[in-house]
């Protein structure tokens, strides 16, 4: 599809234009931390920073959102479903974020039950991806069959070129419409990408892909699912859980963790039902009224999370629910590393293979 070249100033102007017509979410810096969050001026957008801590998912699956609005004052309760409104743009989505959207799509959109909230947000979100400017040691995207320049799933893809300009690729019709609209507005600094810019972009992509090669050697998904199939009751989980402090960092920073709670908020005759992020690492998560808890200790809860990422989702949807973004690796207060769990499972799988064959 079409390739454009846009200067930093041109991109700045484009964001300013967007702000008038859509909610723009982009990486920005807060107290030294990069997060994906709503921006209200183009100046807040920080595309050169590290992988934002707060993942992209909040754009289509906000931390909390209203499902129903209720008026209980009358004889008959008036209850209505609340539909999200407006248009959204998410700028600077990394390839791991794109992969995560694809996983979330399967959960919320596949099968008989289509989630109306997610559907509405997804349909009204323009995704502008960003080729990763660098690859951290905690990144392991290559293990999952894609790399830091893979824009699949985005409407548009930006690649920062050595000179400071961006190469802008349109990947979908919606992306093309957006670029056409911007051209009509006459954005200074937005031009067709010449052959030079095109090859510079390809070179930059090749460069970051080479950087990612380093992780490919260290982490592999081979045998992970099979290995975990056979180690559900392994003492390993208790050892891992001994260290786990049962906080929600790994789940809340995970771009694919999608579990939620549904709660009621009543004020006088009016009430709302909303959903909010929840995590299987909290003890309340499976605690039933009456006090029974099928996952009473950290061991069961941590195991459930790791299996969901590396085994359960595969059995249900045929792919991993981990996309290798490395947020949990980097931010776990006690350095629990999902890559080590993968290695352990792979080793188990190899051992099983040996025992079966020999």
């Amino acid at each position: 599809m079409a390739e454009k070249l846009v200067t930093s100033e041109g991109l700045f102007t484009m964001v300013e234009k967007l702000l008038g017509r859509a909610q723009v979410t982009a990486p920005r810096e807060e107290n030294g931390i990069a997060v994906f969050g709503p921006v209200n001026s183009a100046g807040q957008v920080e595309l050169d920073g590290p992988l934002p801590v707060i993942p992209e998912k909040s754009v289509v699956f906000p931390q909390s959102e209203t499902l129903l609005r209720m008026d209980l004052g009358g004889e008959v309760p008036k209850v209505e479903a609340v539909e999200p409104e407006g248009e959204q743009v998410i700028l600077g989505v990394r390839p791991c974020g794109l992969q995560a959207f694809a996983r979330l799509d399967r959960v919320f959109l596949e099968g008989a039950f289509v989630d109306p909230q997610y559907r509405r947000r997804r349909d009204h979100t323009l995704i502008i991806a960003l080729t990763c400017p660098t690859v951290k040691r905690s990144c392991f995207c290559r293990a999952f069959g894609y790399g830091p320049s893979d824009g699949s799933g985005a409407d548009l893809q930006l690649t920062r070129l050595p000179g400071g300009s961006f190469h802008l690729e349109t990947l979908t019709e919606r992306g093309g419409e957006f670029v056409a609209e911007m051209e009509k507005e006459g954005i200074a600094g937005l031009t067709d990408a010449g052959a030079e810019a095109g090859s510079a972009a390809r070179a930059e992509k090749a460069r970051v892909e080479r950087l990612a090669e380093r992780s490919a050697a260290a982490v592999s998904t081979e045998g992970v699912v099979e290995g975990l199939d056979g180690m559900y009751d392994d003492p390993y989980w208790a050892q891992l859980a001994e260290r786990c402090i049962s906080c929600g960092i790994c789940t809340y920073l995970c771009p694919t963790c999608h579990c939620f709670d549904i709660c009621e908020k009543a004020r006088g005759p009016e009430a709302e039902r909303y959903r909010c992020w929840d995590t299987c690492l909290f003890s309340n998560y499976t605690l039933m009224a009456g006090g029974a808890n099928p996952r009473p200790t950290v061991r069961e809860r941590l195991r459930n999370r790791l299996y969901h990422k590396l085994n359960f989702f595969n059995h249900r949807y045929g792919e991993f629910l981990c996309v290798g973004c490395g947020r949990c690796v980097e931010h776990c207060p006690t350095n629990i590393d999902i890559r080590k769990v993968m290695a352990k499972a792979a080793a188990r799988s190899r051992a099983q293979g040996v025992s079966v064959n020999g």
Binding site: K265, A266, R267, G268, E270, A271, E272
Partner: protein, 171 residues
Amino acid sequence: MPVNESAAAEAEMMTEAEMTTDGASGAGADAGTGTWEPRIVAFCCNWCSYAGADLAGTSRKQYPANIRIVRVPCSGRINPQYILRAFQRGADGVMVAGCHPGDCHYTTGNYYTRRRFSVVQRFLEYVGLHPDRFSGHWISGSEGEKFVQTAREFTEKVRSLGPNEKMRDVL
């Protein structure tokens, strides 16, 4: 000024569960009338300050109807969470009132309150609550007049600040 002579008489000791529902703050007051009236929650200890409020009522001294009393067994029972909850559910100001130092029904409860209150008061101010929205008072059972005065002054102070938005969690 609307009066509420029976507010104290109607106040009941609340359970934590009740305190987390609407009742504590009296949310919804004056809705729709167009004139804004501050809503004030007063946590009063059962033995002194509540008795003081009661005395004000029985001796027909008027205090503003803006005051909603939550009766607690001792000012030492006032968990800082209660104060936050009152602001969440719509209070524009919160008063804490207990027996004078040395007069606690439970001997020392209000000494603990005093320490905790000093810390919490400074901290609420630090996180951006206007200092005039939260105050503590020693009011004995015989100080009906002081209760009335305090209630009036506090109400006027809060009125001049306008509605509180900090921490408010209404629909």
